[in-house]
Amino acid sequence: MKKNKRGLSPVVTTVLLIALVVILAIIILLWAIAFIPESILKGERAIESVCDDVAFEASFKDIPETNEDEIWVSNNGNVNIHAFEVGFYLEGDVSKEEVVPQDIGGGEPITLRQGVSGKMTVDVPKGTTKITLLPILIGTVGEREVKYLCKNHPGEELIIA
């Protein structure tokens, strides 16, 4: 009798131990999940990996009669591009702005779908030596649409004469 009262069998203790650890892990996960930013999806994929599939080319068009110049862009891939982060490099300094492409004919803002080209009118600061372009995509967090800058994309570099 005394022997039987000694304690639980090793199997039960192990199961109890594991169950406790699993329950604790779930509780900590549910608590910590609030601090982790929600991942942005595009379709059913993480937007970071969709960025790797973005392909575009760009060309700079100097328009001498006006203060504003044009950057022409073409989507050579299969990912819709919502906008670009345009970086102007001058004397070791860089200024960045978000620019949405426009329809080449009408000038309406457009999303660059596969194969589509557009133009961006930009006010290039005097002394700019280089312009960089990084794509901005639209993804979703739950039901909400959010913009995402593809920071790890090689982008496009335009050297200004």
């Binding site: 090793p10 993480a46 073409s74 299969n78 004919g105 596969q114 194969g115």
Partner: protein, 170 residues
Amino acid sequence: MRKINKDKKAVSLMLSYVLLVLIALAVGTLIYFWMKDVIFSPGETCPEGVSLIIRDVSCSGGQITITIANKGTFNVHGIIVRGSDDPEIAPIINLKSIDSKITVAETLNMFTDVSGNSDPLEPNEEGEYTFDYSTVLPGPPVKITIGAIRTQEEETLVCERTFITRNVDC
């Protein structure tokens, strides 16, 4: 009695190991299936062996006729054609076909037969296609770019690695 006790201990240990491994496997499998779509699923892409070349170009009356050959190992279902009338600027203006062998869907020129069914350019096959530039370019093109389009798994894909640019004399 001692013998029986020893047996019981062995079974308990074995069971605990089996349970431990099973639980670890079950949790691992659950996490894998939960995360695999988000992390691992690659987007649909064109295969490596898709390739087009421009055999010949001729211009007349605001139209440009391009002879294209499929030098790859896969069917090509359509093309993107862009032109530029400025030698300093990359061809970016999309040219639309006026050819009966092509159905235009926005900027995508899809190869079709007379009934409108897909009629891909097969490997080593050549095709001559006419495009209008007079309505979209101020002057005759000095450079053109072409890129292949493929339809696979019911998806239309632009093959980014197939884009080539050539100077033309119109």
